[in-house]
Amino acid sequence: MEYLIGIQGQDFVLVAADNIAANSIIQMKQDQDKMFKLSDKILLLCVGEAGDTVQFAEYIQKNIQLYKMRNGYELSPKAAANFTRKNLADYLRSRTPYHVNLLLAGFDETDGPGLYYMDHLSALAKAPFAAHGYGAYLTLSILDRYYRPDLTRDEAVDLLKKCVEELNKRFILNLPSFSVRLIDTEGIHDLEKIMPVGAKSLARAPSS
């Protein structure tokens, strides 16, 4: 139902997530932001079971901030990813596991850009590109075919748009809009939302 995608370039990471918050067959919200800012250069994208996503993501977010307050410096993306994975693993065999799928994207001054794929069984893999959700089945082959490690920012956005178009064409669920963000050495940048042509969105008068 939900969809996450991340593409790593030479000096940036591009991530996108859909904006639907659904409850069984009803779309309750069309502008839900599934990205959580862990620090100035780290984003956590989180999908999965209803309450678990926000609870787990906010828990990780607050703990990363606490680390910064206590130690005076921020965790690197690799450390943050491993911390997240450890928490997920600790809860996995408890009576209340978190059923969440994550992408962690960050930029480190020494290591450069990094995209980490984590799933609900707390597997962790650093990958050049990754996707979560049913949409991943349709788009991973597109990423396999067109991805190059030396993509420019514009080329990465075009590749992302290709993936979204494919979802629009073949995926039975209507995903009308996607939030897009880019992380590079300067921090997190909000890019324009991608709204595939022909996808129906709830046209509402903007609130003042």
């Binding site: 918050a21 409850n23 067959i25 009803i26 309750m28 919200k29 839900q32 079971e49 209803a50 309450g51 678990d52 926000v54 609870q55 906010e58 828990y59 607050k62 703990n63 606490l66 928490n87 600790d90 065999r93 408890s94 009576r95 209340t96 709830l202 509402r204 008068a205 903007p206 609130s207 003042s208």
Partner: protein, 319 residues
């Protein structure tokens, strides 16, 4: 309830943490040290300090040990190893299935927030109460529309009201609607996976203007401008999605909410009887009289009859 806590009166020697002890251990984002049972007994009952600690309001639930725990151990030998990992006993059989039939809706517009709900409390196929109240005021600027299990909603609404009042007493200002939603969501989190079923929308007006939140016992917490919850919600969405706009005036908004509930009660078996309507503005909430939707149904049928007669007449005149 609030006074009891502020004065530190304790009548049960349970853990003072407001999270129930079901599955909590270690890191759930709470860095304050847990006062263990030994300390509490040493210091005696009626400790004033414990309820003063910020956010550490004791919420004592007496969880009775289920009678079926003894036979379960006997069965354990026959069942596979995997059952050993569960320390909870098998769920007690309910005498009747839990009921979730309702239609509640709320939306934000330029004149504030409208909240509407039907009044039918249904239970395993019959109407348990035709005049239940599903929209409960917490304070002058916050309403909760309740859906899911009636008992759970009633309890959690009272608990939420108590916590908000305590916050107000301690901090001298009202908790924001966003904070109230987060508080309710976090209080419900330990009960995720159990049979607690609460799907509430918090409608209110705080310093930041009109606010609407959907909070569910499965952990969902969403801010939005239009929510409808319950078995009749798809029918209500059908009416609302086409018509709700920010620029509605008060009369239009009220009649739209009424219409949405009416259509939902017509189609959904588990919604019906009357409609309650509340309107929240910066000055507080005001309540419309409860209206029986049977009248509306008869009025609509009458209107159709008149139209039909008019058409037949004009066809006759043509001939």
């Amino acid at each position: 309830m609030a006074l009891q806590d502020v004065s530190g009166f304790q009548d049960t020697p349970m853990s003072h943490r407001w999270n129930t002890p079901v599955s909590l251990s270690g890191p759930m984002g709470d860095t304050t040290p847990l006062l263990d049972m030994a300390d509490e007994r040493i210091l005696g009952w009626g400790r004033f300090k414990s309820s003063e600690r910020d956010g550490e309001v004791p919420l004592r639930f007496f969880i009775p040990t289920p009678q079926s725990s003894v036979p379960f151990r006997c069965d354990n030998r026959h069942t596979s190893l995997s059952s050993l990992s569960t320390s909870s006993s098998p769920p007690t059989r309910r005498p009747f299935p839990l009921c979730h039939g309702t239609t509640t809706l709320a939306f934000v517009f330029q004149g504030g927030v409208i909240a509407a709900a039907d009044t039918r409390a249904s239970c395993s196929g019959h109407v348990a109460c035709p005049s239940a109240q599903k929209i409960l005021p917490i304070h002058s600027h916050l309403l909760v529309t309740t859906s899911g299990s009636g008992a759970d909603c009633m309890l959690w609404e009272r608990i939420l009201a108590r916590e908000i009042r305590l916050y107000q007493l301690r901090h001298g200002r009202r908790l924001s609607i966003t904070g109230s939603a987060k508080l309710l969501s976090h209080m419900l989190h330990p009960f995720k996976g159990t049979d607690v079923c609460v799907a509430a929308t918090l409608c209110g007006w705080d310093r930041c203007g009109p606010k609407l939140f959907y909070v569910c016992s499965d952990g969902t917490r969403l801010q939005g401008e239009l929510f409808s919850v319950g078995s009749g919600s798809p029918y209500a969405y059908g009416v609302l999605d086409g018509e709700v706009r920010w620029s509605l005036n008060e009369q239009e908004a009220i009649s739209l909410a009424r219409e949405a509930v009416y259509r939902a009660t017509h189609r959904d078996a588990y919604s019906g009887n009357c409609v309650d309507l509340f309107h929240i503005t910066a000055q507080g909430y005001c309540r419309r009289d409860r209206e029986d939707l049977r009248e509306e149904y008869h009025r609509e049928r009458e209107r159709e009859r008149v139209l039909k007669r008019g058409k037949e007449k004009s066809e006759e005149d043509k001939k």
